[in-house]
Symmetry: D3
Subunit: 236 residues, 6 copies
C-alpha cells in the first residue's frame, strides 16, 4: 500500500445517490443483481439510521485513526466515509469529536469495520454510523495509510466516489458507473414490490404470484395430509 491521499476523485451524481438512498439497501442490492453488500457484521449505532452518500474511502493501520483526520479534510458535502484497516481492529476509531467534524462538513454518514465510541452522543446527534464494534478503546495517530484508494469490505470493493447506501438492513455499495442504471432499475423494482405488498396484504399467495407451484412440482415436492403422514414416514 502506497501512503497516499487522492484528492477530488470523480463522484457519483448527487441526485442519483439521493434516489438510491430513498430506495433503501435491500431494493438497491436487488436492483444491482444481488451484489454490493458489505457484510452482516456492520450494524447501525442507533436504530433507524439511514444514509446515502459518495464513498470517501479510508485505510488505517490497526488501532490508529491518523488517516481519518486526513480524510476529513478531503470530505465534500454529500460524501460518506468508508473506513477499514490493514489488519483487524475493534478499537473506537471515531466518536463524538470526529462525527461532529464530519457533520460540520456535510458528510452524510460513517461506515467502519472498526469500533466506534460515544454512542450516546452520536445517537443524540442523529449522525448515521455503521460499525462492527462498539468500543471505548482509544486509538493512536502514528501509522500511515491511504485516503481515496479502493478498499474491500466483506467481499465487496468500494472505490472512491461510488454510491453507498446504508440503513437498518446493512450497507450496500454501487460502482459510480452503474449508479444511474441501478437507480432506474430500483425504481421499477420498488413499484413491483409495492404492488406485491398490496397483493399479499389482500391474501394473495407468493405461490400464485410468482408461479411457484410449477417449481415445487418439478422439484418433486409432494403434499400429504398429516393424518396420513405417519405410516408413510416410517417409525420416525
Amino acid at each position: 500500500m502506497k501512503p497516499v491521499v487522492i484528492m477530488d476523485p470523480p463522484r457519483a451524481d448527487a441526485a442519483v445517490v439521493a434516489e438510491l438512498g430513498e430506495l433503501g439497501v435491500a431494493t438497491v442490492h436487488e436492483a444491482a443483481g444481488k451484489t454490493g453488500l458489505l457484510g452482516t457484521f456492520l450494524r447501525p449505532a442507533w436504530t433507524g439510521a439511514r444514509a446515502a452518500g459518495t464513498a470517501l474511502t479510508v485505510l488505517c493501520g490497526p488501532g490508529d485513526n491518523l488517516m481519518l483526520h486526513a480524510a476529513i479534510e478531503q470530505a465534500r458535502p454529500g460524501d460518506l466515509l468508508v473506513v477499514t484497516t490493514t489488519s483487524p481492529s475493534s478499537d473506537g476509531f471515531a466518536g463524538e469529536l470526529i462525527t461532529t467534524g464530519l457533520a460540520a462538513r456535510g458528510v452524510r454518514g460513517l461506515v467502519t469495520t472498526t469500533g466506534v465510541r460515544d454512542v450516546a452522543a452520536i445517537t443524540e446527534a442523529r449522525f448515521p454510523v455503521w460499525s462492527q464494534f462498539v468500543s471505548a478503546q482509544g486509538t493512536l495517530k502514528a501509522i500511515a495509510g491511504a485516503v481515496n484508494m479502493p478498499v474491500s469490505i466483506g467481499g465487496t470493493v468500494i472505490a472512491p466516489g461510488d454510491a453507498v447506501v446504508a440503513d437498518d438492513d446493512g450497507v450496500v455499495c454501487i460502482p459510480r458507473a452503474q449508479a444511474a442504471q441501478v437507480a432506474a432499475d430500483g425504481r421499477r423494482r420498488a413499484q413491483h414490490e409495492d404492488e406485491a405488498r398490496d397483493a399479499f396484504a389482500r391474501g394473495e399467495l407468493g405461490l400464485d404470484r410468482y408461479q411457484l407451484r410449477a417449481v415445487l412440482e418439478r422439484l418433486g415436492v409432494t403434499y400429504v395430509r398429516a393424518e396420513q403422514s405417519r405410516p408413510a414416514g416410517g417409525e420416525r
Copy 2:
C-alpha cells in the same frame, strides 16, 4: 429429507398457547424443567417484540426461500413460522413482503435461523420476528425442502403444532402434548415469582428465602472480614 408439505398437523390448543405467551419465555422454560430453548443466537428484530403461536415448521435450502412460500399457504391464524435451513445461511429469507403475507393470514410471528431484511418496515408494522442475522442479501426460489416436518434448532426439536413462545429473552418450544401441563405449572411458578419479587423489593434475601446459607456452609464457603484477608491470602 423427503421434499414434502404436511397439511393440517394437529396443533396445540389456542387458549393454552395464549396463556404460555402471557407467562413469557423465561417462566415457560422453567416450568418445562429448564428445557426447550432455541439458543441465544436468535434475537428479536425490534425491542419489545412478543409472540406465541403453534409451530408451522419450514426447512429450506441455504440461500433459498421457496419453501417459505409453500408454508404461507399452509398457515392458519394462530400459527408461528419456524424456519431453518439444511446448511447454514445468513441471507435475508424474509422481509416486508413475506411478513405482510404472514400478517394477512393471522400468523403470530416468525422465527428463523437465517437473516431477515426490511427491518425498518417490519418494525413499523410491529410484526414479531426473531432471527440470527439481519441481511439484505436476497434468496432464490429453486431448492426443494419440507413444510411441517420436525426441525431442530440449537439442540431443541420443534414439531409442527408445538407451542412456541418468543420475547426479548429468546424463543422456547413446548411439545404439543405437554403444553397444557407446562401452562398450569407456569401459572403456579409465576405466582411464586410475584411473591418473591415483592419479598426482594422489601429487602428479603435469597439466602434466607431459598435456604442457601446451609448450602454455602456445606460447600465450605467461609466468611472473612477484608482487613483480615491479606495475611490469609498470602502475598497475592
Copy 3:
C-alpha cells in the same frame, strides 16, 4: 480458588465514583491512560443505560448463581455487581428477581460475563445491566465460588471496591487507589474535549488542531490529484 466471602472491603470514594460516572466510559478510559476496559462483548441490556459504582465482585461456577445470592447480602448502597464464572457460561444468571433485590439495596448496576433474562422487566425498571448474552436458560444454586476476591474480565483485573463505570460504550474499571487522580485528569480531559468539539463543529480540522500534518509528512504520505493518480498507480 478458595471458597470465601470477603466482607466490607475498602471502597473507592463515593463522590469520586459519581464524578467518574458523569465523565463516562470513553473519557475515563482515556484519563486512565487507555486502560481498564472490560471488552467489547459486554453490552447494555437496554439502550441508554448508565451506571457507576464500587465493585462488588462475584465469581460463580458455570450455570450456577449461588454466589450471586451470597453477594447481595454484602451489597452496600453505591456498589455495582461484577460477575464472572470459572468457566464460560451463557446462562441467564440474573433476571427480574435478582435485579429487584439489588435495586432494593441501593446497588447501582450489574455487569456480568454471563447471560441475563427478563430483559423486558429489567428495561421497564430501568435497572442498569451489562452482559455478554441474553438467555432465558435458568441456573442452579449448588457450586461454591467467591465474593469480593479480584476477578479478571477481558484482560482487566477488577478488585473489590474499585470504581466501575458503564454506559453505551461498554464498561471500565479504575483501581480504587487511582480513582481520584483519574477523575481529576478526566475533568481536564472533558474540558479539552468540549473545546475540541466546538472547534470541530466550527469546521476546524484535526490535522491542524493536533499538528498531524507534520506526522503525515514524516510518514511519507503524499497527496495526489485523482486525475493524476492513474498513471502513477500502474494498470490497477
Copy 4:
C-alpha cells in the same frame, strides 16, 4: 427433560454400520439425500480419526459429566457415544480416564458438543474423538440428565441406536430405519465416484461429465476473451 436412562434401545445392524463407516462421511451424507450432518464445529481430536457405531446418546448439564458415567454402563460393543448439554458448555467432559473406560467396553468413538482433555493421551491411544472444544477445565458430577433419549446437534436429531459415522470431514447420523437403504445407495454412489475420479484424473471435465454446459447457457453465462473484456466491463 425427564431424568431417565433408557436401557437397550434397538440398534442399527452392525454390518450395515460397518459398511457406512467404510463409505465415509461425505459419501454417506450424499447417499442420505444431503442430510444428517452434525455441524462443522465438531472436529477430530487427532488427524485421521475414523469411526462408525450405533448412537448411545447422552444429555448432560453444563459443566457436569455425571450422565456420561451412567452412559458407559449402558454401552455395548459397537456403540458410539454422542454427548451434548442442556446449555452450551466448553468444559473438558471426557479425557484419558473416560476414553479408557469406553475403549474397554468396545465403544467405537465419542462425539461431543463440549470440550475434551488429555488430547495427547487420547491421540496416543488412537481412540476416535470429535469435539467442539479442547479444554482442560474439569467438570462436576451433580446434575441429572438423560441417556438414550433423542438429542439434537447442529440441526440434526440423533436417536439412540441410529448409525453414526465420523471422520476428518465431520460427523453424520443416519436414522436406524434408513441405514440399510443409505448403505446400498452409498455403495452405488461410491462406485460412481470412483469412476468420476478416474475420469477426472484422465482430464475429463465436469462440464462434460455432468452436462453442465447447457446449465451455464441456460443461466446466461457468457464467455469473453480477456483482451476484449475491458471495453465491455466499463471503466472498472
Copy 5:
C-alpha cells in the same frame, strides 16, 4: 455481477511466481509493504501444505459449485484456484473429485472461503488446499457466477493472473504488475532475515540490532528492579 467466464487473462510470470513461493507468505507479505493477506480464517487442509500459482478466480453462489466446474476448463498449468461466494457459505465446495481434476490440469492449489471435504483423500494426495471450513455438506450446480473476474477476500482484492502464495502462515496475493518487484525485494529481505536469525541464535538482541533502546527511551519506558517496584506501584 455479470455471469461471465473471462478466458486467458494475462498471468504473472511463472519464474517470478515460483520465486515468491520459495520466499513464503510472511516474507512476501513484508516485501509487499505489509499488504495482500487474505485473512487468518483461511487454514491449510493439511499441515505443511505450500503452493504458489497464478490466480484463477471463481465467484460462486452460496451452496453451489457450478462455476468451479467452469473454472477447471480455464485452468492452465501453474494456476491456483481462488474461490469465494456472493453470500457466506460453509458447504464443501470441493473434495477428492475436483482436486483430482485440478491436479490433472497442473493446477498448484486451491484457496476457498467455503468449506472443503474428503480431507483424508486430499491429504493423502498432497494436493494443497486452504479453506475456511471443513464440511461434508454437498453443493448444487444451478447458480450462475463468474470466472476470472476480480474477487475480494478478507479485505484484499485478487485479480485473475495475480501471484498467490500460500503456506502454513496463510495466503497472500501480489498484483501481477508488482510481482517481479516484490520478488526482488523479498530476496533482499530473506537475506536480511537469515542474517538476523543467525545473530539472534548467537544471542544478539533485537534491542541492539534494530536500535530499539532509543525508541523505548523516547516513549518513556523506564526500568525498575522488582524489589523496588512495590512502593512505586502503590498498593496494587
Copy 6:
C-alpha cells in the same frame, strides 16, 4: 498502564516448575482446585508441543511487538513468555526470528493472545508456541507497554515469576506462592488417576468407583427398558 520494564522478579522454583510440567495441564488445573486456565482459544502451533516455565509477562500495543524485544533481554533460562495486548490483535507478533532468540536464551516457550507466523520454521525447530491466531501480518515497533507487570488472559491473572504449564490441552498458570503445594497435590492426584485408568481399563465403572449410583438416585434419575419407554413417554 505505566510503561515500565520490571527486572528480575522472584521466580517459582525451577524444580517445582519442572514437576508441574511433567504432570501436564489437566492434572495441574485439577490440583489447583480447577483454577488457572487461560482459555480454550489458545492453541499449540504444532501438535505435541509441551512446555513449563516461569512467566515473563509482556503487555504490547495492538499490532506492535516492541515490548517483546524488551522482554527478551530480561529472559532467564527457564522462563516462558506470556504475551498479550492492550486491545485485541491477531497479527503475527512472533515468528522464526524471535523464537530463535528466545531459544538462544533458554526460554522454554511462548504463549500469546495474538497471532504468530513462520509456523513451518517454528514447527521444524520444535520451539513450543501457543497462540490464538496464525497470521503472517507483520507488526510495528512503536508503542510503549510493560514487561513483568501482571497481565490477565481469559479470566486468569498471570504475575511475573508464576509457574506456567502448557500442552495440547491448553495453558494453565499457578501463582508462584502456590506452586509447590499444587505440585505436591498433583503428584497424589496423578497417582489416583493412574489407578483409576487401570481400573477403567479392566472394566470397572465410574458409577461404582465414584459412588455415583447414589447421586443418580438422589437426583431422581430412573431406569427404563427401551421397549417400555414409548407408552411412558407419550406420543413424542
